[in-house]
């Protein structure tokens, strides 16, 4: 929700980034305050997933300009693990499989690492087991999933649920959900959305990166940004997403200046 008194969690200014010498992000400005949900929409190749990965610190991308402030920290100074420990979470579009590493072991290590950073109590395997099972109910996950290897042989839906489970465990300040809706059937989408809605509150913030309006029926954004060729070309409220759904992305190119006027 939008609250004029809330404080910024993320402040991005003039962010430029490239991969293998090709510039993908060409100057992004974005401010996300606590309590807010932002949707970033755009066609494939518009740079929205790159933006998510650059925020998380993926080493394949080189930041060539601009700044990212995360609460009181200069995010660009921090390696990825420290960004995560500071409370930045990325739910991956394609969560990678890690054969041989049990999910429960992985989740507990991640949980305890973040807990230690926050000066809070770490949990032993038994305590953690109780704790994680509670959280799993939220996402209607089967218990056997804890003993399986991280994401190995998971269906698309299971992988996405696993991401949201991790989000629920780690209680991030800022969650970035990269195309979390892709590959989900409508039931799974509802469950995932329900999970996200239970996690969001007035002290944290969420960025939804998505191609389709569909997800936004279940997680209602406060702001919608449209990216094109590495820039945010337009910003509006949740109704912008609906307009895009009916009129398509071409509509923006044709009417860029006039829409901006309407929404301002």
């Amino acid at each position: 929700m939008i609250n004029p008194n809330s404080t910024p969690i993320l402040t991005v200014r003039g962010l430029r980034a490239s991969i293998n010498g090709t510039e993908i992000l060409k100057g992004i400005d974005l401010t996300v305050k606590s309590g807010e949900i932002h949707a970033i929409m755009g066609l494939n190749g518009s740079g929205k997933s790159t933006f998510a990965k650059v925020l998380a610190g993926h080493s394949a991308y080189e930041v060539t300009g601009g700044s990212i402030q995360f609460e009181d920290k200069d995010l660009l100074e921090l390696p990825p693990e420290e960004r995560a420990r500071a409370g930045l979470f990325l739910a991956f579009q394609y969560p990678i499989e890690i054969p041989g590493v049990a999910n429960t072991q992985f989740l507990r290590l991640a949980y305890n690492t973040v807990q230690a950073q926050r000066g809070k109590e770490e949990l032993d395997p038994l305590e953690f087991d109780d704790f994680v099972r509670e959280k799993m109910k939220l996402l209607e996950m089967k218990p056997d999933f804890l003993d399986r290897s991280v994401n190995e042989g998971f269906s698309g839906g299971e992988k996405k649920r696993n991401e949201i489970l991790q989000m629920a465990l780690l209680e991030p300040k800022l969650s970035i959900l990269d195309e979390t809706d892709s590959g989900l059937d409508i039931d799974a989408l509802k469950i995932v959305a329900q999970g996200v809605n239970q996690i969001t509150n007035k002290d944290n913030a969420t960025i939804l990166v998505t191609h389709y309006q569909r997800l936004l029926d279940y997680i209602v954004p406060d702001y919608v940004h449209v990216m094109q060729a590495g820039r945010i070309v337009i910003t509006g409220g949740k109704e912008l997403a609906l307009e895009l759904e009916t009129r398509g992305y071409d509509w923006i190119n044709e009417n860029n200046s006039s829409i901006a006027g309407v929404l301002a």
Binding site: S59, L90, P95, G100, A102, L109, T113, Q117, L170
Partner: protein, 478 residues
Amino acid sequence: MSAVLQSLVNQPYKHGFVTDIESDIAPKGLSEEIIRLISAKKNEPEWLLAFRLKAYQHWLTMTEPEWQNVRYPKIDFQDISYYSAPKPKKKLASMDEVDPELLRTFEKLGVPMHERAALAGVAVDVIFDSVSVTTTYKQKLAEVGIIFCSISEAVHTHPELIQKYLGTVVPVGDNYFAALNSAVFTDGSFCFIPKGVKCPMDLSTYFRINTEGSGQFERTLIIAEEGASVSYLEGCTAPRFDTNQLHAAVVELVALDNADIKYSTVQNWYAGDEKGIGGIYNFVTKRGLAKGINSRISWTQVETGSAITWKYPSCILRGENSVGEFYSVAVTNNYQQADTGTKMIHIGKNTRSTIISKGISAGHSNSSYRGLVRVAPTAEGARNYSQCDSMLIGDQCGAHTFPYIQVHNNSAQVEHEASTSKIGEDQLFYFSQRGIGAEEAVSMIINGFCKDVFQQLPMEFAVEATKLLSFKLEGSVG
């Protein structure tokens, strides 16, 4: 490949110290004279000298094998010293009389014998260069009739057993390096578990090569009589020298009816430096004969060291219903090379074998699995299951699998599975995005990968192996 991975693999070798002890070294070179010298030094009976000379004559007719997937310059066998023993001040009667300098070496290696023996209930037979220094717990074992001592001691105290079994599993002319070993072996461990006895503790040997330019040719012989069982642990380290040292050991196991021998190795010989200079050539022949019905031979190895590892701990399954097992983790880094695997020879009816091999390659290293499963016409109902998994860290290393399957009986079932995976940038990014640093991530992935093998190790070895692997790969990421 990421700098993270690079630095994680590159950690200095911590056993690379040399102990300053006066050694009794034979002049370099190999000849009948040298063999006679070794035999004389050890005051050996005539039959053993004959055994050595026969092996030497065999060796002279053989050529060094070249089929293995490793590269190294020709070994000059005349440039090796075949006998090196720490000069004892007097005859040792107990642990307290062992050279304190030597004891300190073992402390540094993390083998405090007194403590280790007392706390862990492990009897340690320590081989330093070529001579067995002392055997602990001998008395306690003797009470149940177990003989555990150096092989040169056994030659004098139990010549009938040595004469009966030595060379029966690995004949003198078996292969080039086994022939060499048979000619020049200087010491090793001997272990005899009599009928019906379950060895009350794990038996353990620690090998260490201390003298530059010396080879280590130890010989191990383990006999488990009807219904006996034993778990034997072997650990290896060597100081750091710029020259390569040859380690050509032979291990023979014999299991009679219903007997069970479990042999576990954690090998951490010096692997050479990050440019591939120096390190041990580990060319070892290990073979177990499951001679009796329902007997079982189980090999577990964690190979982390050596410039070159070349060995195939094998099982000859002769007894009906006998079982052979091979569990292996081989880690190579920098310019290390490993060509390792096993041979399962099914001869008896309903014999079963399991092969689980995990190869991990990092840096510029090369790791090969080579395994033979042979089912003889007599092996009605034989079964084998093989699983060979390789993991690559970085993109400069290689992993290869060479399975050989020869089935001569239609009732046999042979399964082979293989996989190759890679610790990639994206996996590490996934971990780091959850707050987990690269080193912890790699160690978690590796331990998960090796789980099936580690759980076969005795508890204290499993802990050691886990630490060793993390240590070995520490800094390959960063």
